[in-house]
Amino acid sequence: MFNTKKIRQDFPILDQKTNNKPLIYLDSGASSQKPQTVIESMDTYYRQYNANVHRGIYQLSEKASAAYENARKKVARFINASTWRELIFTRNTTESINLVAYSWGLANIKPGDIIITTEMEHHANLVPWQQLAAQTGAMVKYIPITEQGYLDLAKYEAWLSPAVKLVAITQMSNVLGTIPPIKTMIKQAHAVGALVLLDGAQSVPHMPVDVQTLDCDFLAFSGHKMLGPTGIGALWSRKDILSAMPPFMTGGDMIKRVTLEGSTWNSLPWKFEAGTPAIAEAIGFGEAVEYLDGLGMANIRQHEIELTSYALEQLNQVEGLQIYGPQNPQDRGGAIAFTMGDIHPHDIAAVLDGEGIAIRAGHHCAMPLHDKLGLPATTRASFYIYNTAEDVDRLVEGLDKARELLTRD
């Protein structure tokens, strides 16, 4: 049913050698590869109907505007937004979260308010809240992670109170892979009147995400991690929340009427899209979600559960290797961080590179999490639709080689 072999043929980049070995790409958690259709859609825009959007009366511009807005509709439907007006194009997850922090946050957070996030967040869902708290006199609390890589939900429940105005959590950790019980956590947050922002950078590319079923308040995600180009991402929020929010950036496109005395804001979503947007990238993003839809997000999730399950099984047998994060593949995504004895992750990644395997080493923009784990860095393999069990086998062989080369007695 899930035909990886056929899928791989849609990704031109995968058909190459690095260091004279067939490329095995295990870094989709950082950025995914792009299918032919996405690349072509952007190429076609530039070759056939490149023009600025929204203001042109001529054919090219009308075509560009339609393609841009059509892309928005595709992405909005992909997460089951109730209307495309709730889908704002941004540069990436980071910008989406900053938009919320600066616009909603500065307007709503008061001294003494509490923002709850977690110890396992990417810096993108951590630094903006520290910054907001510093500016407003609010306080940030971090839900601890347990030994097994789960959130300490007892702490979360204990901390919930009417002072909590925002809960900002990742729907899938980019290091531990952990998928928190978001639906319950949202219900509990709403019960005390807090809004919930989900960092969907890892979840939206890898599992079905339905904003209406989840009943979250904000969802941030990036195109480049889900087969789309860089430079385009999205923020979804409910219409009533977005309408009440002041603009984030001001200038062209986001206004209805400007006089020297003042301005009135454009309708949603354009109120939040100042300046010429990333048109080609939006079109590519639309094409990307279409490709994902074609495969079916539930199927993608299933494929990754199977692959992660196989990878955990194999990696657990590698001598000296320690995995961080839940061992149950149902509770986690396909990003697997590990260490191997005292061999530095950089060295592991460099040896693997020599075997044609692209893998990430470092703190993966989650320094507080690595502090908690007591590690300067980890090595991370992350999987996507084009990865196979053979990739896992090659990874294991590469790790054995790294150990042989770099073990000190």
Binding site: H344, D347, V351, G354, G362, P376, A377, L406, D409
Partner: protein, 134 residues
Amino acid sequence: MDELYRQNILEHYRNPHNEGTLETYTHSHIEHNPLCGDKVQIDLLVDDQHRIDQVAFSGKGCAISQASTSMLTDMLIGKTVEEAKQIDKEAILDELGIEIGPVRLKCALLSLKAVKMALYGLSEEEWDNEEDDW
């Protein structure tokens, strides 16, 4: 890859020279590489003639950073502070004898940065400037 982990590098990595800390020292500095979380501490003992008598390093790092640090400590012993100032990035890379990409370069040069900061108070900005001409 086999290029990167040449025998001389592996030897220094497996049996680093001058590893540890000095009980008496005249200069010491701890430097971090925020990119990978590596950390190196350099202790130096400089005598009345401005000559480096002893060097020791400690800290965590990848094979490239450990090996380059070990090599650097060998280079430093017996040199005057003035001579030590002349050790530049080229010298370290020559000693390593490999081609290094921009990310690993930071690993390879971490201890040199620490030594310069310890010995004559090179600032972060001056170090960055040195990197710019590079």
